[in-house]
């Protein structure tokens, strides 16, 4: 195996060789820095073994931003190749690998961890809980995601990336047409991180349903928490379909079965169905929590209660249910009968109804309010037109007769980037800016943030509006080049410029974060935005037991009402403190992720000895955990008093 890897690297593209060198140098740099500053112990105790939901959230956020960089570089490479007709920058194989990793990374290793970050940081605080329901499982979820992403990124320098598109339809993704480890990497890394996602879904459903503070009835829950509940319900229904699809595809490739091959009774259509039963709900998984984030932000920065709370809750639930039943619109053109196509077309369009309602409710939350144009609010405002247009083109795509023409064209590319960037990315960035002071205790610099905002937004429209036009001209997705006679050159060039503007926008965010770590405005109050929900009642950053006393909730926007009722309100003076029971840190989640990684790596290269060692490691971790007797500790009243005073 290692001989073939060396051979692969020797013959690889200079870009890949350079990346390999860069990765090794970065790793050496990190190791040297940690050793020099004697930070290994700190890293291990405070972060790697942590079961604190807030720290896990921060780790998700860091990984998501790093992956956003990787996925963004992929995007720029693709746009560079497409800038001119007949361009000679990337060859077909390399281009195919890049669009495959771009799609997979952006959906699974950017959108998902970013929203898990927001969930982890905000949900327990919003509902007045000390922690999530299963803190240990939460850490396991993170490390499974981490090692899944690591395995996926390893493919780039070790053996070749997957190249069959992020959907990886068989028979193209079968051994017959894609030999080599690429698709194996795809199958195993998604499988490993997917297990973590299911666990997160279960964890947060239980947290939200069972751990709310006294008085917080369901209809008093903040909308972000509602949206996370809706999203997690979709996760636990959708992800098992992905697990099955990947398991069967993996068996086809590794064990020689014929679930999806063309021979011996295999049926590729079964994969297509299973994939999209997960794949379509997946976009709602990514978008639903974002709706919650926008609801919080609009309400906070308009200084108003959310308009139409009940409608908002109903529409969240409707979207999660209807969104689950529309997957067939991804293959209207696969020869299903008109009855099937009509049903799924109308169901898909119906998702537009509750979504439209939400948009109007946001607008009327701002109506007769006092709108503060802070960074979170700017991204929210930018989201509305972007999502309105993206949603409208979505309805147009959802209708079968239109889709027969739009399918696989650049109209689709433009549409889903508009909803996923304009929705998920804008929303998660808004959420990041909003909760940043809560996470780290300082605000991010507004001026640099505005530069980032304008570069990213203008870049966005310059990049994706021409793609609608290219779609109408008949340009198909996933082509690595096109002849000049098509006349697609100009618009592609414009689109590429837009992509680079967005890249500059991202760099501004990086600069903003680095600058603000040093010079950012410190948050002393814990409530820098004049917030409305319970997380703003706590100091920033939040002590690891969250609430010294669990608050009692008397209405929606609990913290706002407390502030209204008594200005001098102080949490620590109301009731007597009691000792708090908290879970212990544990290194097992990390080792369990590592064991999954080893198993996955072995299976990618059909090295069953390595795979077995990894799987034994997984079992040993589980046994170890189940034999542990005392997994928690008490924090004394004195300690709490000390923490609260500081």
């Amino acid at each position: 195996m290692f001989k073939s890897l060396v051979l692969y690297l020797k013959n690889a593209d200079p870009l890949i060789q350079m990346s390999a060198v860069a990765i090794v140098l970065t790793l050496i740099g990190i190791v040297v820095a940690l050793t020099y500053y004697k930070k290994w112990g700190w890293l291990w105790r405070e972060w790697i073994t942590t079961v604190d939901h807030k720290k896990i959230g921060i780790m998700y956020l860091i990984c998501a931003l790093l992956m956003l960089f990787r996925g963004g570089v992929d995007a720029l490479l693709m746009r560079t190749q497409l800038a001119f007709p007949g361009m000679n920058f990337l060859d077909a194989q390399h281009y195919n690998e890049i669009f495959t990793t771009h799609g997979t990374i952006m959906i699974l290793f950017v959108a998902m961890p970013m929203l898990f970050a927001m969930m982890n940081i905000a949900v327990p605080l919003q509902i007045g809980a000390r922690d999530v329901a299963f803190p240990f499982l939460n850490a396991v979820s993170f490390w499974l995601f981490f090692f899944g992403a690591l395995l996926f990124n390893l493919s780039f320098v070790l053996g070749g990336s997957p190249d069959a598109g992020w959907v990886s339809y068989p028979p193209l993704a079968e051994l017959s047409h894609s030999p080599g480890p690429g698709i194996n990497y795809y199958v195993l890394s998604l499988q490993i991180s997917g297990i973590g996602s299911i666990a997160t879904g279960i964890n947060f459903i239980v947290t939200i349903l069972k751990m709310r503070a006294p008085g917080m009835t369901l209809m008093r829950m903040p909308l972000f928490t509602w949206s996370v509940l809706a999203s997690c319900i979709v996760i636990i229904f959708a992800f098992p379909a992905l697990t099955v699809a990947l398991a069967l595809l993996g068996l086809d490739r590794i064990a020689g079965t014929h679930f999806f091959t063309m021979l011996h009774g295999g049926n590729p259509m079964m994969y297509v169905n299973l994939f999209w039963i997960w794949g379509h709900p997946e976009v709602y998984i990514a978008i639903l929590p974002v709706y919650g984030i926008f609801s919080e932000i609009v309400s906070t920065f308009s200084k108003k209660y959310i308009f139409g709370y009940k409608s908002m809750v109903i529409s969240l639930m409707l979207i999660s249910v209807i969104g689950y039943f529309v997957w067939v619109h991804h293959f209207f053109t696969m020869g299903a009968g008109p009855g099937v196509n009509s049903f799924f077309a109308v169901a898909s369009m119906a998702v537009g109804i509750p979504t439209g309602v939400k948009v109007f409710n946001w607008l009327f939350t701002m109506f007769r309010g006092r709108i503060r144009l802070t960074l979170p609010m700017l991204w929210t405002l930018a989201f509305i037109p972007c999502f309105a247009i993206g949603g409208a083109t979505g309805v147009m795509l959802a209708a079968a007769p239109g889709d027969y023409q739009f399918h696989n064209s650049y109209v689709v590319i433009a549409h889903f980037h508009q909803t996923l960037i304009g929705g998920a990315v804008f929303g998660l960035l808004a959420g990041m800016y909003y909760w940043w002071p809560k996470m780290f205790g300082f605000k991010l610099n507004e001026t640099l943030g505005k530069w980032a905002f304008w570069f990213f937004n203008i870049g966005f429209y310059v990049c994706f509006m021409p793609q609608y036009a290219l779609g109408l001209m008949g340009m198909t997705r996933r082509v690595y080049t096109y002849p000049a006679a098509t006349g697609w050159g100009t618009l592609n060039f414009v689109s590429t410029i837009g992509a680079y503007l967005m890249g500059i926008g991202f760099l501004f965010i990086v600069v903003q974060v680095l600058y603000s770590i040093r010079y950012g405005e410190r948050d002393m109050t814990g409530d820098p935005w004049d917030g409305r929900t319970l997380e703003w009642s706590l100091p920033s950053p939040v002590p690891y037991y969250n609430f010294a006393q669990i608050p009692t909730v008397n209405g929606r926007d609990a913290w706002w009402e407390m502030k209204q009722q008594r200005k001098e309100y102080s949490l620590s003076s109301t009731k007597e403190l009691k000792p708090i029971h908290m879970p212990n840190n544990s290194s097992l989640p990390f080792f369990m992720g590592l064991a999954f990684f080893v198993a996955g790596f072995g299976l990618v290269f059909n090295q069953f000895m390595i795979a077995t060692v990894g799987l034994i490691g997984v079992v040993v971790c589980m046994l170890w955990r189940s034999l542990e007797k005392d997994t928690g500790h008490w924090i004394s009243v004195d300690e709490i008093k000390q923490m609260e005073a500081s």
């Binding site: 077909a92 009509s342 509305i384 309105a388 209708a399 082509v479 618009l491």
Partner: protein
Amino acid sequence: MKKTGISSRLKQVLFSSVLLFLLPGCSDRFALLDPAGPVAHTEYRFIVLSAILVSLVVIPVLGLLIYIVIRYRDRPGNQAPYRPNWTESKILEAIWWGIPILIVAILGVFTVRDTYALTRPPTNHKPITIQVVSLDWKWMFLYPDSKIATVNYCEIPTGVPVQFVLTADAPMNSFWVPRLGGQVYTMPGMEMQLWLQADRSGVFEGRGANFTGKGFAHMNFQVVAKPQSEFESWVKSVKASAPALTNEKYNQLVKPSVVKQQSYSSYPTSLYKNIVNKNGGMYWHGKHEQHPMPMDGQHQMPMGN
């Protein structure tokens, strides 16, 4: 500029993007907006209708957003009413639940109508059948009536409905001739069908639309539409002058490669059936009818079971 803030600037951006989108519309490059046959025309009409209907929501949203942000911005001396505890209005909410429901209902009716219509032959003329096989990375066309074959181009008579019957001897692809109408997947071991018709003579670009690996970007073909008489003389000339497609030649053709346009005067009679069967089509026997397909348009492919 500072005063109106984000919304006006956003508006500018939006407006210029719309311009970008409309200006080149004068040329004939927008294949989807320039239908050359009844199928494409039905789809074009539907696209326009859906665009109008969805803009009934989009335009008010954009207008309201701009108005609200300007009017209710938090700045000293803003006299606009501030009602922090106003959280509900049954009438307003009924309006914005109602309008999208109405729009989706209208669009739904047209969707169902057109989806069913598109499964039927577009006109009443006697149709011809062309069998299509997508290969790595080329398109093969078989004419069961005249027994000729072509690669990467096909000729069709104008004004005549063409029933394409499609399969793949390679990973699944999608057969798309934008100016004649929407696409359908070609799938190994299965038969799909697609009705298209050209109302005027011309050369229409066709594309493989579903990704199939390295040579995918080069998987284009041309559909040449010409009057019936010219079409017949083309068939005759191919029969007279082109070589025959033998099984050996097909076995060469099926290997991954990018090739130029080709014509063949004949092909082995069972070629198409063999292609379907060897890719697993035999497992479908009894589950769906073999070619020729029923003409009533109610034919349904099995959905992944």
